[in-house]
């Protein structure tokens, strides 16, 4: 996030440059201390939060997530998790904007059912349209459908975020070819959001040309979340560099790495 020195290969979202291409959620951790240590280890600059009722009259001294992750240090990305219709998603974004003093970057997700947590695309499109019109910078969770991704981009979403697999499943990228098509079509950043389970999945997303990966459970549900956060950071970096480097062509048969010429025994 630091703008003081030039960032090589920055991630550009809604006019702002980021050094890290790993975005992390802040849910499911054991406590605030583990949350902050894992997020520190991940190197993430953009962190998601949810919007929920304040616990009234209970333990007013209890630390809030924004005390642990101060908005002057992290870009806070409020989500609409738990919303199953466009109306509540829009309400949630408006509350988040007020909560964060006019901050317009939001992660829109409108869910279709509890078993799959797949997005309700009709409702997502409706909410996205309304939010864009209202001046929000919308990063949108969607399925791995290139046609829907294209539509969300043309509506003015600032990033399109197809799932790799169901939220919290850790299954990895189920449909890499669709993710590739989405990446190839898009002019806005494409981030894989949801379904990543381990560092190789994150690397794979980046090798496909994704601009970043957003994850939560893969880190929070690891036996050692802080170590996994570090692994994810490296997976993202490795995958990005491999993508930029341009991988070799895969071949069916062998190709010796040492020269044939100059063999002294034949």
């Amino acid at each position: 996030m630091s703008q003081d020195n030039q960032i090589t290969d920055p991630l550009l979202i809604a006019g702002r440059e980021y050094r890290s291409r790993l975005l992390v959620g802040t849910g499911k951790y054991k406590d605030m201390d583990e949350t902050s240590r894992a997020i520190e280890a991940s190197g993430a600059e953009i962190v998601t939060v949810a919007v929920r009722r304040t616990n009234l009259g209970q333990n007013p001294g209890e630390p809030n997530i924004l005390d642990v992750l101060p908005p002057d240090r992290y870009t806070i990305l409020p989500n609409t998790a738990g919303c199953y219709d466009a109306e509540t998603a829009v309400r949630t974004c408006k509350l988040a904007r007020e909560l964060l003093d006019g901050h317009t970057l939001v992660k829109l997700e409108v869910l279709g059912d509890e078993k799959t947590l797949f997005p309700d695309i009709m409702a997502t499109l409706k909410a996205a349209e309304e939010l864009v019109k209202d001046g929000f910078d919308v990063m949108v969770y969607t399925n791995d459908d290139p046609i829907v991704a294209r539509e969300l981009e043309s509506m003015g979403c600032v990033a399109v975020m197809p799932l790799a697999a169901p939220i919290g499943s850790g299954l990895g990228i189920r449909n890499p070819l669709n993710i590739l098509t989405i990446v190839e079509n898009a002019k806005v950043p494409v981030l894989v959001d949801a379904g990543v389970g381990t560092a190789s999945h994150a690397a794979e997303a980046m090798e496909l040309g994704c601009d970043g990966v957003l994850m939560n459970t893969a880190i929070a549900a690891a036996r050692n979340p802080v170590l996994m956060a570090s692994a994810m950071r490296k997976g993202i970096e490795a995958g990005r560099e491999a993508f930029l480097a341009g991988r070799m062509q895969a071949k069916r048969f062998a190709s010796a790495s040492s020269p044939i010429e100059g063999l002294f025994f034949r």
Partner: protein, 66 residues
């Protein structure tokens, strides 16, 4: 009069302003946002927003989430 505050019934004085309610709740330096009957009430209007009987008031905050 009765209002529904974060899903629970609460008795407050007739004609209370939003700022009165928030003062009673002693939310201190916490970051929060408020909506009444599914409409956002901006901070700048707390001192003039008068509550009505049976209003549904939601006070929200940021929590950990993915």
């Amino acid at each position: 009069m009765n209002i529904l505050l974060n899903g629970e019934h609460r008795e407050i004085a007739e004609g209370s302003l939003m700022s009165d309610l928030l003062e009673q709740l002693a939310l201190g330096g916490q970051r929060f946002a408020v909506e009444v009957n599914a409409e956002l009430v901006p901070r700048s209007r707390f001192a003039e927003h008068r509550l009505n009987p049976e209003d549904k008031v939601e006070i929200i905050q940021a929590v950990g989430g993915g």
